[in-house]
Symmetry: C2
Subunit: 406 residues, 2 copies
Amino acid sequence: MDFLKSFTSTEALRLIEAFPVSPESETLDLEDADGRTLAEDILSTENVPPFPRSLVDGYAVKAKDTYGAKETSPSLLYVKGEVRIGEETDLVLEDGFSVYLSTGSMIPEGADSVVMQEFVRQAGDAIEVTRSVFRGENICFKGEDIEKGSRVLMKGKRLSPFDIGTLAAIGISRIPVFRRPRVSVISSGDEIVPVDHTPPPGKIRDINRHTVSSLLRREGALVSFEGITADSLPDIKSILLSSKDSDMILISGGSSKGERDLVTAAIDDLGGKILFHGINIKPGKPTVFAQLWGKPVFGLPGHPASCIVVVLRFVLPVLARLRGGSRHRLRKVAALLTTNAPSSYGIEEYVRVTVEEEAGGRYLATPVFSKSAVISSLSRASGYIIVPEGKEGCEPDEEVEVYLFE
Amino acid sequence: MDFLKSFTSTEALRLIEAFPVSPESETLDLEDADGRTLAEDILSTENVPPFPRSLVDGYAVKAKDTYGAKETSPSLLYVKGEVRIGEETDLVLEDGFSVYLSTGSMIPEGADSVVMQEFVRQAGDAIEVTRSVFRGENICFKGEDIEKGSRVLMKGKRLSPFDIGTLAAIGISRIPVFRRPRVSVISSGDEIVPVDHTPPPGKIRDINRHTVSSLLRREGALVSFEGITADSLPDIKSILLSSKDSDMILISGGSSKGERDLVTAAIDDLGGKILFHGINIKPGKPTVFAQLWGKPVFGLPGHPASCIVVVLRFVLPVLARLRGGSRHRLRKVAALLTTNAPSSYGIEEYVRVTVEEEAGGRYLATPVFSKSAVISSLSRASGYIIVPEGKEGCEPDEEVEVYLFE
């Protein structure tokens, strides 16, 4: 495949979305399921609440007994007793009577509403109701939250803390979810040394291992760092082979044009298929996507900023599917550019920006100018804007969409 | 303290922000530090990169030797050799010469720019340069990313994957961060049973334990569930005592007006100080904030939706400070309401909404109507809008700010 005939980002994403994946499932305790993706639809075998409950402290009544009640002409109702919270009741409410309840108490049969404590005056063993209520007022009905037999959550949903609460409500304490994808991360390059080594002249520390692993872990991957490989075909083949059991392999560096284009050669030699080599984006052009042993493999650019852009835009969608979800989407905000954002015509450019909120609630985006080999500027940026191929930069005050990093 | 004289949310937040906390620190491996808060400023003892590097594959030159170069009248430069990536070089470039480089190679002394491979023609042991370069072109200078002695990251910063990369770049593999806050979570109420029990008539399952724990864990807390306590003063006191070693205590239920207002009584008895009881918000009014053994204690409403609102709006800011950070902020988007959002005059109301993105990139918010005792609706909502005390609902097409859950 010719490196120069690079794909557009749209073509690249289409291939990425079409890549076949078959995530496996496992069963977890409710405690451990937050953030995981449901592997099955969840149906409720129960009504929630299982009985009608009072939403307030007050008196269960028949609404009709309160019609017309006012401060000046209250309804007088006898008090038949109390339903304590957590207790079953076999009381049956008759016309002209009321039952004292706490928030959460079971509504006795015959009652259709609850008068709040605040609208009641004590009058011996009766109460004066000073405001009318409507039928159903202050009651949470049986099954109003969740109906027995209903589909509560759908397969493919990424569980939120509220979903966890919903599962608790219907008594589901073991949750079928997709396994966390295992991702092998490899750094390649004769110039790369581990973080705890002092680089000798000509060499630099491994940055991509750390940024890539952190980004993937945040998105639910089990990351295994396979090591740093030299720019040598046998070494790259051997480290790929040792990553064979993973669900995805990411190797940064070594996919630039030039004489050291060894990653594609190694994938070829191992029987893999290069799906694309080169995306028409800046930074991030020298990106490889391949299928090896049926699994997705990315060759990522060596420059830290390029590598990050490619992970956010192209790798995370694959990870989302390996996790059993549908799509990964970076959060977006609309913002006004404070200065111009120059870009090259003919290539899709990713301009890192900081975002600030103005007093009026508008967002302002300011480009962070730095070379793609630079990592520290990413710490200061809040996200990126995409300037399309056919456009030469953006003007000050132009409205842009910022894809937020977090 | 009189329950009816409830605080506004602003007053409540002011007390919460003023609560004294003193987070402790620990040292972690780089691998484990993502998402944690820095306990010290980080200064760099090194330049990154430690030497000038080439950003491209090509030839190191003196820029002046290329001035005026064109396709039709190229500059002829002799090739003095090569600097391989990862190697130190003691080559010194003289006028009229060039040195072959790969991306990342060290720039030899005397060179001030790099001509990309694409703008070079081979001519025996010389090259023809077909385009001029400017001084500094295609070079990442020594210290351009991070300068030796500079403050790279500030105490109180919550570390992002990019910060992790920056720390790797300067060789900091052990990171001083604040400890994760230990939070005790307690559920109270005679009607509450654990998720794996079938509730007998009159009782319901514990939902708040699960939503609250998940929300706190996502924000970096070490959550310890202390159990379900009955509505009894001795039981509540005893479970609070067993939570004494935590950094914060949250107890849901039992803080409603009415005869079972036992949480404040228990805190009083144990020598704590109630800071407020009741916030003028809906849902979430029956909220208690107290200081006990010098630690923050929240009495949370029992209704799941109320409980969640209070955790998001009032508990997470305390957690952020216990974690060593400054503020917690929910992410916001501006959206147009699709229908009206009714609210009560005189109380600050939190209306749950779903958010959808229109084709044009605008966001539309639609209120989710449900009672505060209902959990399943939260699974469907994307966030909430706040209707202030002095306002009676919002109109269709009104622009609102949505505080997003995720």
